[in-house]
């Protein structure tokens, strides 16, 4: 692929109903780049992630993924470049390994295949007990669910990973494990929403919602 940015956002306004969360937001993310996005609560960070996934309607000419404009039509294709782990994720009902395997049945993922070994390795990296694979999703704790959801996202090997407070529910040790693993991913660009200083340290860039908006907010270093 060429060196066009994996994600480019131009002049994007974020609305929640009739309330404006952010205005004229700009952000560019290069392939493999790790960026942590912070900002006040209610500044529209999660809304921004939802817009990048096309879960909220996106105005024309504002979001580009791998150089292609995100529209109601292209979003179905462009979602295949992106994986997303939401805050307090819910990724389905049933046995963990079945849930992890389910996306590989989708038509768009036919080129991929589910490798149980890979899931086991990721679990080990994230300090999840190996028998978690056989457990029912319902019995997992919040922190375990979070790491299973992260595993599900990573197994799909997308070029862009969107993370919403992904380390928030984790204990200190698993936090470190998750951060170290994410930082080591060479070919995956990450946009991670977080309030946690620990997450800032491992990413190459730190952005504040307020600074990404034209004419709004004060510059920070």
């Amino acid at each position: 692929m060429d060196s066009s940015p994996i994600l480019e956002i131009r002049d994007l306004d974020g609305m929640a109903g009739n309330i404006c969360l952010f205005r004229k937001l700009h952000l560019t993310l290069d392939p493999g780049e790790k960026c942590t996005l912070s900002g006040a609560s209610g500044s529209g960070k999660s809304t921004l992630l939802k817009m990048i996934m096309g879960f909220l309607p996106v105005p024309a000419d504002t979001i580009f993924i791998t150089g292609e404009e995100l529209t109601a039509k292209s979003c179905w294709r462009l979602r295949k470049c992106v994986a997303c782990v939401s805050q307090e994720p819910e990724i389905g009902k049933g046995k963990v390994c079945d849930i992890l395997a389910a996306p590989f049945q989708y038509r768009s993922n036919r080129s991929l295949s589910f490798e149980l070994k890979e899931a086991q390795q990721l679990f080990e990296c994230f300090l999840l007990p190996a028998d978690t694979l056989q457990k029912d999703m319902e019995v997992l704790s919040g922190g375990e669910k979070q790491r299973v959801a992260l595993t599900a996202a990573l197994l799909l090997k997308r070029k862009l990973l969107l993370l919403d407070e992904v380390a928030a529910a984790l204990d200190a040790r698993s936090k470190e494990a998750v951060r170290a693993y994410l930082a080591s991913l060479k070919n995956t660009a990450i946009l991670s929403v977080s309030h946690d200083v620990g997450d800032f340290l491992l990413s190459s860039r730190l952005e504040w919602m307020e600074d990404l908006q034209k004419g709004g907010g004060n510059a920070r270093d």
Binding site: A72, C75, A83, P89, I91, G92, A152
Partner: protein
């Protein structure tokens, strides 16, 4: 046929039985007296009207009049379904109407033209009651189905979004919800079928037996109507969800918030 018509005076005396529920409510001070009286009056007036109207329908036996009457039945069913599940009338009225029309008409048509053969299938006295029975029995499944599906999609939006973000197409992402919806909406019909004849003697069978038909023949009617009800119910409930998707989901795949009448997001 030796069918005994009920004498009007004796039926009026039958209303005396209503002293039992009214007495019980009065004794326990259950605030149901008004509701009960209104229900009794409504039942009586509606049935009087239907009895009178069906008589005309049967006498005229005009195919267009029959079709119009079916349309009225569907429209009333449509409205009562949407009232039953707090869904936006403007989005759902037409899809649910079409779903009921196709979903009920298909099994009823098979019932009349194949099973009841050589009875004249489009005769009012076959078409209207059979259609009404299948329609009436499918209502609850359609209500439960629509309600469950859209509630689940709203409450478990994260799960749905996860499927989409994992590369699922619309149909693929909705599949777990559709599967669950059918399980929930079909359960009562299936349970009812499984206890058929043991717990309660079904209405159709009772009806034809009072009409003078032997139990051996009556069960054949009952089996046929149960098959028609089960297929009509599953078809109508499934089509109602599918037909409503076009307007209830945005082109991006997310749930249109105006689907619900009460915005308790």
């Amino acid at each position: 046929m030796p069918v005994t018509d009920i004498d009007v005076v004796r039926l009026a005396a039958g209303y005396g039985l209503l002293l039992i529920p009214l007495g019980i409510f009065l004794w326990h001070r259950v605030p149901l007296i008004g509701t009960t009286l209104v229900s009794i009056v409504r039942m009586t007036v509606q049935l009087l009207f239907i009895g009178f109207y069906l008589q005309i329908l049967f006498d005229l036996n005009n195919i267009w009049l029959n079709i119009m009457w079916l349309a009225v039945m569907i429209a009333v069913a449509d409205a009562s379904i949407l009232r039953g599940c707090d869904l936006n009338f403007r989005i759902f009225a037409i899809p649910v109407f079409v779903a009921l029309l196709l979903g009920i008409l298909l099994p009823v048509f098979i019932f009349l033209s194949v099973i009841l053969y050589p009875a004249p299938a489009l005769d009012a006295r076959f078409l209207v009651p059979i259609f009404g029975m299948v329609l009436g029995n499918s209502l609850r499944a359609v209500i439960v189905g629509l309600q469950h599906f859209y509630d689940a999609l709203r409450r478990r939006e994260k799960e749905y979004f996860f499927f989409l973000s994992a590369g699922a197409g619309r149909q693929e992402a909705l599949m777990p919800f559709l599967k669950e919806t059918l399980q929930v909406s079909m359960a009562p019909t299936l349970a009812n079928m499984a206890t058929m004849g043991l717990v309660a003697l079904p209405g159709m069978m009772t009806g034809v037996m009072i009409g003078g038909i032997s139990p051996a023949a009556a069960i054949k009617y009952q089996i046929a109507i149960m098959i028609a009800i089960l297929s009509g119910t599953s078809l109508a409930a499934t089509l109602a969800v599918y037909f409503s998707l076009r307007k209830s989901l945005t082109p991006w795949g997310s749930l249109n918030r105006s689907v619900f009448t009460r915005l308790n997001q």
